[in-house]
């Protein structure tokens, strides 16, 4: 089992299903915890996104396919259970942009986990902002850009540090 962690393609499909399901449920719990914490910064879109810890860990430990599956399953389930369908599509857009960016940055091998996660945080907010601007047909949405950029940096770094710490002790 131990040796297979580094070569995701050699896993049986049952193992893969189990892995993804486990990670997705863990991420879903994080989503739920975040959804029930009552805090309101007054500006939509500013949040930590702790569920992304799981996405980034999956990205580093199991490869991009698993991470994408975990991320999509988590967002769809969280959308159906508590975030609402609307928030779901919104989050999917942010997650897609952020995920592609993180995969590309990871591929350059120049960035650490913190750097990749930081870019992911910023791109997540940027993706949502783009969708929001398209939906509302108003580019003035970009007045939110500075706030969302800085909150994305902060959240991304926080997630990145969290992932670094987890990866350090994760034996599997």
């Amino acid at each position: 089992m131990q040796s297979q962690a580094n070569s995701p393609r050699k896993r049986s499909s049952a193992q893969m299903v189990a892995h993804i399901a486990l990670l997705a449920s863990l991420a879903l719990i994080f989503s739920y915890v975040e959804a029930i914490i009552p805090y309101n910064p007054g500006i939509p879109g500013v949040k930590l996104g702790i569920a992304n810890i799981v996405t980034v860990i999956a990205l580093y430990k199991f490869g991009w396919k698993d991470a994408a599956a975990v991320s999509v399953i988590r967002i769809v389930l969280a959308g159906l259970l508590f975030n609402g369908i609307f928030g779901m599509f919104y989050a999917l857009a942010g997650a897609t942009v952020s995920f592609i960016g993180m995969c590309l940055l990871k591929k350059t091998k120049l960035f650490s986990v913190v750097g990749v996660s930081m870019a992911g945080g910023v791109l997540h907010n940027l993706g949502q902002l783009l969708v929001a601007a398209a939906l509302i047909e108003d580019l003035r949405m970009f007045f939110y850009f500075p706030v969302l950029l800085f909150s994305g940096i902060a959240a991304g770094i926080a997630i990145g540090v969290g992932v670094t710490l987890v990866l350090k002790v994760l034996k599997y």
Binding site: G84, S112, M118, R140, F145, T164
Partner: protein
């Protein structure tokens, strides 16, 4: 995983911070004292009011209702039929360029100043 923070991370952070500061400066410069409240629905102008006349506006959509309150030079979303209620929790706005957006119901409440210098951004 060899190093926790690498050179590229720092460069990326600096670039992002510079972009952030530049956009903050840009937003701050274009933010003027507001005097007009503009309400848009589905990307089209719905109504326009003075920021200094207290009133409550009900915006009816196909399947949605939003109630906007203008009082004491401030505007906020009083009620909305949307599920996420982000617009209702949004802080009150008063400066030119600020906006409250209810994405599910596609309603935008915006404060504009005398300059009206935002056309360059929109068009």
């Amino acid at each position: 995983m060899k190093q926790y923070i690498r050179k590229a991370d720092i460069i990326l952070l600096i670039v992002l911070i510079i972009v952030g500061l530049a956009s903050t400066a840009y937003v701050a410069m274009s933010r003027t004292g507001g005097d007009t409240v503009i309400i848009e629905q589905n990307g089209k102008m719905y109504a326009k009011y003075s920021l200094f006349e207290d009133r409550s506006v009900t915006i009816e959509g196909k399947h949605s209702t939003n109630i906007v309150t203008i009082k004491g030079g401030q505007v906020w979303m009083e009620e909305s039929t949307c599920k996420n209620q982000v617009c209702v929790r949004h802080s009150k706005i008063s400066a030119g360029g600020e906006s409250i957006i209810c994405l599910p119901n596609r309603v935008v409440v915006r404060v504009e100043g005398k300059g009206g210098g935002y056309d360059a951004v929109t068009s």
